[in-house]
Symmetry: C2
Subunit: 150 residues, 2 copies
Amino acid sequence: VTYLLPLFTRIDHVGIAVRNLDDAIGWYETTYGLTVTSRETNETQGVHEAMLVVAAPAGDDPGGSYVQLLEPLHEDSPVGKFLARNGPGVHHIGYGVVDVAEALAKIGETGIRLIDERPRHGSMGASIAFLHPKDTGGVLTELVQAAPPT
Amino acid sequence: VTYLLPLFTRIDHVGIAVRNLDDAIGWYETTYGLTVTSRETNETQGVHEAMLVVAAPAGDDPGGSYVQLLEPLHEDSPVGKFLARNGPGVHHIGYGVVDVAEALAKIGETGIRLIDERPRHGSMGASIAFLHPKDTGGVLTELVQAAPPT
């Protein structure tokens, strides 16, 4: 198997934990002029979330770059626990990859623990997987294969 | 004055605090296949740093997207204190802007405290400025105007 290197094609998003999604969206709109392209509730992740566009998809890459704002659905969710421990701030980083299954296989071979052994559904139709922050220098890291253009 | 909106053109970099720069570079090279494009020592910031390419500059934007690894020069530096308090992990986010002086003026009008009232020299010849994390939802935020192409 020949892997694509580098594995990352872009910084897909910065995932930011917030206490109130509507307030945070308003703040990002007013302060930086960013606009929301998608809002979703992800019950599995336990979050209400919004994606704000920093850079639209360009060229061959179907993915763009976003600020992802995350409000927990309940205190026991991962983002709820993060907020209780750290307060609002950067929760994780999402990097764009061409093929998330291939990237997971490559990274798994290095011995890094995978939170997701197989890709699952992420924001805006993406296929995503998380790596364990204890094995990635303290950075909760998400791999993001953007949905193909429709 | 008419400001460019949105203010951000890209996610310029994720600034990551590490204990040992050489070890961290080796890990990012081996695990993700990223390569170093610049290494610098910034005495003012109190860091040894390396920029690893995630996405090269494209189109009209002279800036790309990078992982920025930061090793403190001494324990009393901002990154040294961050490591002592939090351990390794995401230290700040840098967003690309077309004109950092204009972006600072616009953001300053909203009442957000500016760590840098005026742009100063950043990595790879960029003009940069930091915003105060207490006023930005806990995200230490850097504005980055990339150096013009040479």
